[in-house]
Symmetry: C2
């Protein structure tokens, strides 16, 4: 199959590498010519996925139209902020588009496949999401993930395309639930990181994640997703690893905020995007729109966008009346 | 209130410390006179909870009858293996007994409060369980936990007794679910540790924990527990922290097995008990009794008790046909 991956960050590169088999012709598109030249010259994506050599038959392409033309399947791996702009070029595309981007558009409250239904309405849409550090997938360390599509045969097709002995792909029909889980977990990961920056321990982090999944589920169900999806790989699975891992960008972002840096400054200083920062704002407004009780999202929003004191936030959360758990 | 904590390990000591307020008279019972003498002399429990100074008014008692006499509330914090033997001395006790021990008795399939219903039938029973490293609670780092009793006023009473600004106590009426979550998570933590010992990554661990909670829930519901309890603090919350934390004894136990040591030898070499080891056997037999599909418990049992090769286990788990996620 002819496949093009749009976005030459860590995840796009790791997936392009995985897709390079004798059956597939894979193209990786990136928007920075200098970066593509570096990758071409070195045979590695040193900036985003260091020390992983890329297959010789992976084609690198800087021209968007050239990359997309003739592709039977597109994998979109660009930051959520640029997702609409990039996919606006796919208006006439009729193949399969797999979004691997996690986010909620702020103005519209749409997930990435929600955007695709506007920008590429003639294509078939799927998402691929789960607890998957790119560096581990690139090193072929066992990983499980879920692909979702409103159309189950499409999910099965994406499953076949990506499934490997080291990469176990489950399917789901709850596209919205899979996407919302992926977007909202990054917000909570920032909160977890703030706790780390403050010197809180693992007991507190476990409590945060446990209460967060209840909140994410409540919001997701109000948006129309299915409740069980949030305790799956793309919900809980991704949430916990993002909150507990030292590798997580979003957790690391929060850690710096917890140590006293301003969120805006942390965002400006990072090489790769921490999706939780823009998505905290999207999640907060989505919760207001659906009139959901969401103390953890609200407090994270307040710390990131209203300069709420992080220690005061912990005091506020701990001093609520403890209730029956369920 | 007059309270006695039975068991001078890390958790018993941390809770005895927490309970020492002007309103309470707290006694800590331990079964090793030499150990109690050391604690008395140094003012710390250097063996199990190092570098935490204990309140001067905490009474240390080596005589069981003397410790129990006049106590209005007993907190049982002994290893699950000794739980029946210790509580057999409480046949006539009529106060509140709070179990903080996590385990399933092998011969009977009973949880600790299940044992209490046989050994101390005149007492009121509750469990206190959640993601709570003793060292963090002893340092008063924010923590959340759940107390469960079949009798909700008892749960509320235990909540009042233990709740602190740094220690948030939720309540639950699902005693069995809270206890099973606490016991079964240690089995999975050993599996997670084996993955660490093998050099697997965080993607695999997140997948393991996510699939494990489905399995634990399935088994728990078959035993009569409520489904939502397993996504709470005592289920998921405790499971994830035990699997991801470097502090976890059970995870550490598994890590050594993953590196090639025999389970029996690892168990014999440890100062504190790794409850997941005996409980892997209890869980395996409980799953058979209820005819539950439990691949993760089964594989953990096989690695620990039948010397199944750990690499073969990973291959077996990864090569199953991936299915729809829910």
């Amino acid at each position: 199959m002819k496949i093009t991956v749009l976005g030459a960050g860590a995840w796009g590169t790791a997936l392009a590498r995985l897709l390079c088999t004798p059956e597939n012709a894979v193209t990786l598109w990136g928007h920075t010519p200098q970066h593509l030249d570096d990758v071409r010259r070195s045979g590695t994506n040193q900036r985003y996925l260091p020390d992983v050599s890329l297959p010789k038959d992976l084609r690198l392409e800087g021209d968007f139209a050239g990359a997309v033309q003739n592709a039977e399947c597109l994998v979109v791996a660009v930051p959520s902020k640029g997702f609409r702009e990039v996919t606006t070029g796919l208006a006439g595309y009729t193949g399969i588009i797999v979004s691997v981007t996690k986010g909620i558009e702020h103005n519209t409250g749409l997930t990435m496949c929600g955007i695709l239904s506007e920008t590429a309405p003639q294509a078939t849409h799927a998402a691929l999401s789960g607890p998957t550090f790119a560096s581990e997938v690139a090193r072929e360390i066992p990983t499980a993930i879920v692909t979702a599509s409103r159309d189950l045969p499409t999910a099965a097709q994406v499953q076949t395309l990506f499934n490997r002995t080291f990469f176990r792909v489950y399917t789901s029909a709850d596209l919205l639930g899979v996407e919302l889980g992926g977007a909202l977990k990054n917000v909570i990961a920032i909160a977890a990181g703030i706790g780390d920056g403050l010197g809180l321990g693992e007991n507190a982090k476990a409590a945060l994640v446990t209460r967060a999944i209840v909140e994410i589920r409540r919001l997701g169900v109000a948006c129309g997703a299915q409740i069980d999806t949030f305790t799956g790989l793309s919900g809980l699975g991704d949430l916990m690893v993002t909150c507990f891992s030292r590798q997580s960008r979003n957790r690391g972002f929060g850690e710096r905020v917890g140590r006293g840096e301003k969120a805006r400054q942390v965002a400006d200083s990072m090489v790769a995007v921490a999706e939780g920062y823009p998505n905290a704002r999207s999640a907060y407004h989505l919760a207001r729109k659906h009139n959901i009780v969401s103390p953890l999202i609200d407090e994270t929003y307040a710390m990131l966008y209203e300069d709420k004191d992080v220690r005061q936030t912990v005091r506020d959360l701990m001093s609520r009346d403890p209730k029956p758990e369920q």
